[in-house]
């Protein structure tokens, strides 16, 4: 979340709610709406680290709002982030661990685990089908994100089939 907010602030200074709206507009309904509390907590930390600067703006009949600006240090951090290849695991998976450890528990049937998981993935895929059909083709960020999720799910299903072959 830190770097997403820095990137949005690189375009123009904004207050917390505007950042929330900008993220929502980019992803449409393809991605969960960011939590406003989390945005303010993150902005507070960025401010403490000197990556953004907050300026109080007076509003008539309302409490002051804080507008956040990207600092030079913030811009450096952002540039480094964009320039580097993205590290870290691409997939976080709990199911495979369950499948491997299941026989040790003495209760789980691996065939049943795989079958249940397959139906669960298809149920997620069914949601994504609906989501894609409700998304305008012009919302290319949302469309690409949904298609990415579909390709990951397809890989998960292929992996399940592969795991199942090994039960023979």
């Amino acid at each position: 979340m830190r770097l997403h907010l820095l990137a949005l602030l690189a375009k123009e200074p904004a207050h917390g709610y505007e950042l929330k709206q900008a993220l929502e507009q980019t992803f449409g309904s393809a991605y969960p709406s960011p939590n406003i509390g989390q945005i303010y907590v993150t902005l507070g930390r960025l401010e403490k680290d000197g990556l953004v600067r907050a300026v109080d703006v007076e509003q008539s009949n309302r409490p002051n709002k804080k507008v956040y600006y990207l600092t030079a240090k913030g811009r450096d951090v952002l540039t480094t982030w964009v320039d580097e290849p993205t590290e870290g695991p691409r997939v976080r998976d709990e199911f495979f661990m369950k499948l491997v450890l299941a026989p040790l528990t003495g209760i789980a049937d691996r065939m049943a685990l795989i079958n249940r998981q397959r139906r669960h993935y298809l149920s997620l895929m069914s949601d994504l089908n609906d989501l894609l059909s409700r998304t305008a083709p012009a919302d290319s960020v949302a469309v690409l994100l949904i298609e990415g999720a579909m390709l990951h799910l397809q890989a998960d299903l292929d992996w399940l089939a592969r795991c199942q072959e090994d039960l023979a």
Partner: protein, 241 residues
């Protein structure tokens, strides 16, 4: 009343030195309007099963019932006649008639099933329209891309408004946009009550089904509904950081 019912259906290939069991005692019942996806690892008997359901492969033992009529005991010609009226089939490879136009390829099954020329033409126009192929109606299959031929094959399989649409990997040749058209058509005909039994490893297509049957080593190892929640986002699969 089931559209399809099999009783202890078995297929053993005995062409080689050692008999190979492909389907080992499948009991499957498909109700009118149901969309059943069949999945499983390669060699699990999926294709053999749907081929037998459509009369394209003979069973070794067991029973196959179509619209409450026993069909596995029919002669080949009687089966062929029944199939024209009751079964639509779409494969990974399209098997279109090369020297007929796209329009004629799609109209032919409806005419063979006894539809009037006018009804056959209307049906063809609506199917080709739904699959974004209206402009290709007068082309020969050889002039079409793989994805276009696959969509024509689907239109043809639906032309006779069959009791059941049987499909074996029907989206094998489609890019993402063409798949979208096919998904929409399948979803529409299913809403209109079309019964569908489909072998696929494509999760987007399988997710349209009401029910998933998993085959393993020639037997059904799972048979259940695919839950619909209609609340998900891509965030359940991809965590953007």
């Amino acid at each position: 009343m089931s559209v399809i019912k099999t009783v202890n259906l078995v297929k053993i290939y005995s062409d080689g030195a050692v008999p190979v069991p492909a389907v080992r005692g499948v009991d499957l019942q498909v109700e009118p309007g149901e969309f059943v996806a069949i999945m499983g690892p390669s060699g699990s008997g999926k294709s053999t099963l749907v081929h037998m359901l459509g009369g394209l492969d003979t069973r070794t033992s067991g029973e196959i019932w179509l619209d409450e009529k026993r069909v596995d005991t029919l002669s080949e010609s009687a089966w062929a006649l029944l199939r024209r009226k009751k079964v639509g089939f779409v494969f990974q490879f399209f098997n279109l008639v090369a020297n007929m136009t796209v329009a004629d390829n799609v109209e032919l099954p409806a005419l063979l099933a006894g539809a009037s020329p006018r009804d056959a033409r209307e049906r063809r126009q609506s199917l080709l329209g739904a699959l974004n192929l209206t402009e290709r109606a007068d082309a020969a299959p050889g002039q079409l891309s793989g994805g276009e031929q696959q969509r024509v094959a689907l239109a043809r399989a639906l032309a006779n408004q069959p009791s059941v649409l049987l499909a074996d990997e029907p989206t094998g040749n489609l890019d993402s946009r063409n798949t979208r058209d096919v998904l929409r058509l399948l979803s529409d005909v299913h809403k209109d009550g079309q019964t569908i039994v489909m072998v696929t490893h494509d999760a987007r297509v399988a997710a349209l089904a009401d029910r998933l049957v998993s085959l393993f080593d020639g037997a059904i190892v799972d048979d259940g509904r695919i839950a619909r929640r209609r609340t998900g986002t891509a965030g359940e699969v991809i965590d953007l950081r």
